[in-house]
Amino acid sequence: MADVRFDQATRVYPGNDAPAVDALDLTIADGEFMVLVGPSGSGKTTALRMLAGLEEVDAGSIFVGERDITDVAPKNRDIAMVFQNYALYPYLTVAANIGFPLKIAGMKKRERERKVQEVAELLDITDQLHKKPGQLSGGQRQRVAMGRAIVREPSVFLMDEPLSNLDAKLRVQMRADIAALQSRLGVTTVYVTHDQSEAMTLGHRVAVLKDAKLQQCDTPRELYARPANTFVAGFIGSPSMNLCTVPVANGCVSFGGMPVSVPAGVAGDSVVLGLRPEALELAAEGLDAEVEVVEELGADAYVFCVAEVNGAPTKLVARSHARQAPHRGSRVKLRPLADEAHLFRPDTGERIDS
């Protein structure tokens, strides 16, 4: 086991000017479950492939423990990877697929079979061992791919969107299984996903990337509670945080008649006000809005409305109890919870701390 450190690691694809990963600084502690999350093209998969040795590192370096692995061949990095499409060899049985890395490493057949059996028991796939991958369901294939990674007992696990080919229900179940497995094995894990809910539920810490740059790396709770900029604020949480630019007057901004104080020393005459849906309640007094859509989620409902903010029609989402959810087309009053408001600079999008 080992910690992993990206030190100004940069990757520029041949023929491109813009880097796919730009000076990434990230330290992953020994045994930590780190999730890299971001939209398409943010560089999360490239960063993972750089760690695996499947992409060149054009500048900077990558360490596993004290060892600089920047120029080490993938096979010598002591890293195992689970791929999005599982990459199970169709011509090998499940047992042979799991045992493949051991065979390549030259392990004796009997020892290999014992290890494969152990891993199969751990993953509950002992009765599938003689089958070919084509005969398995998506969830079983996913387990076999995990098995192939686990069996080597590597110092780092890499997972590249391993759940994206599964249906929603199975994904939730496998998510729990992966989290349990990781905490049981205690192996440093780097997990890539574009699904923020997956990132929030799995990661000990989550690194949010956008346009090749690391935006913020923190625990899920901190990311949610104190997003570093408007991108993280909008990306983490579902539905997204409401973000609207409002003018500053007398050291505070007013939203729906409620004052939110702005820290002294903030330059400019406006700020971006961020309010999560649960920080915006339906009340008797507040900002006048028209309900466009109501999403019923059982206990709760999300109310999607349009309101005039700072002279422009703005879409807002509020959470309410399902029983009190308004009808589509009705008019409501939205009142912010001032304590839960976030403020960001309108020019850079950076968080303004109070």
Binding site: R49, A52, G53, L54, A73, P74, K75, R77, I79, A80, M81, F83, Q84, N85, A87, Y89, P90, Y91, F100, P101, I104, A105, R148, R152, L158
Partner: protein, 297 residues
């Protein structure tokens, strides 16, 4: 439920409907039936002539009377057909192994490895693919003759000028294999890389297994090509009958035996038989190979 369901009795369509369906099927396939008949006619003609006496072979009768099965025995005994067959097998086997050994690594490098100049090399392969073999034949012949003089071995008159070039890569095989290798998902190779394989190991343990249909197709094309090849054997082997291959031997049957048509046809049938057997055994691989040559969108 304890009751056992009665087996479903399948309804048979009325006779008139079946008849109409049969006729429609025949009409649908009429072009193919006509084409098949056109292709089959010469084979049938060869088979029938092979069973005739030589007098009958020159007459207007199509049906042999009596059937002379001894023609086959005679065809084998009057000319060194077995020797020619052995030469053909040596040529086909060594050339095919050579093509596979030399073309697979090149195709892999062109399809799956990133290196400077890859596209330029691919272009060279394509150009080589488009050149007819006749273009390079004269300089190659001169080269083999001069090389023979230099090392004191008569390459011209032996099978080596036919076999050795196959070990230096074949443009068509490289192209076909490359097209197939391109369709192998990169993740299989990446997984193998992370699991501890070097490129050579990936090629031998992963790519060869995944590319079996393409490799079978290349081998099959090569076997058929060498078996049917007439031009190069004629050029290099004419002066040395002990090195002849069957395609060359058959063409000499007439001059050797004052045109004994029945024996010529019997020998032809014997030579065709293995090709036909190979084709039927490997029909699927062959068809897959043909579809592989089409560029996938």
């Amino acid at each position: 439920m304890s009751a056992v369901a009665a087996p479903l009795e399948r309804r048979r369509p009325p006779r008139a409907v079946r008849r109409r369906r049969f006729l429609i099927a025949v009409a649908d396939h009429s072009l193919l039936i006509a084409a098949a008949a056109a292709f089959l006619a010469p084979v049938v003609f060869i088979a029938l002539t092979a069973l005739m006496t030589n007098d009958q072979a020159l007459s207007a009768h199509l049906w042999p009377h009596p059937f002379r099965w001894s023609n086959f025995k005679e065809a084998i005994s009057t000319a060194p057909l077995l020797r020619w067959t052995l030469n053909t097998l040596i040529y086909a086997a060594l050339a095919t192994i050579g093509i596979l050994v030399s073309s697979i690594p090149v195709a892999y490098a062109l399809a799956k490895l990133r290196w400077r100049g890859r596209n330029a090399v691919m272009l060279v392969v394509l150009v080589a693919l488009m050149l007819p073999p006749q273009v390079s034949v004269v300089p190659l012949y001169v080269m083999w003759a001069k090389l023979g003089n230099a090392v004191g071995f008569h390459f011209v008159g032996s099978l080596w000028p036919l076999i050795i070039p196959a070990w230096l890569g074949d443009a068509f095989s490289i192209f076909l294999l490359r097209q197939f290798f391109m369709t192998i998902p990169e993740e299989y190779l990446d997984a193998a890389r992370v699991d501890g394989c070097g490129e050579l190991r990936i090629l031998t343990t992963v790519v060869l297994r995944l590319a079996k249909p393409a490799i079978a197709a290349v081998a099959l094309f090569s076997v058929l090509y060498t078996f049917n090849d007439f031009f190069l054997p004629l050029l290099y082997l004419s002066d040395n009958p002990s090195s002849w291959v069957v395609s060359l031997g058959l063409s000499q049957y007439r001059s050797l035996h004052q045109v004994q048509w029945n024996l010529t046809m019997a020998a032809t049938l014997l030579v065709m038989a293995p090709v036909i057997v190979v084709f039927f055994l490997a029909q699927r691989a062959f068809v897959e190979g043909v579809t592989l040559t089409g560029v996938k969108g």
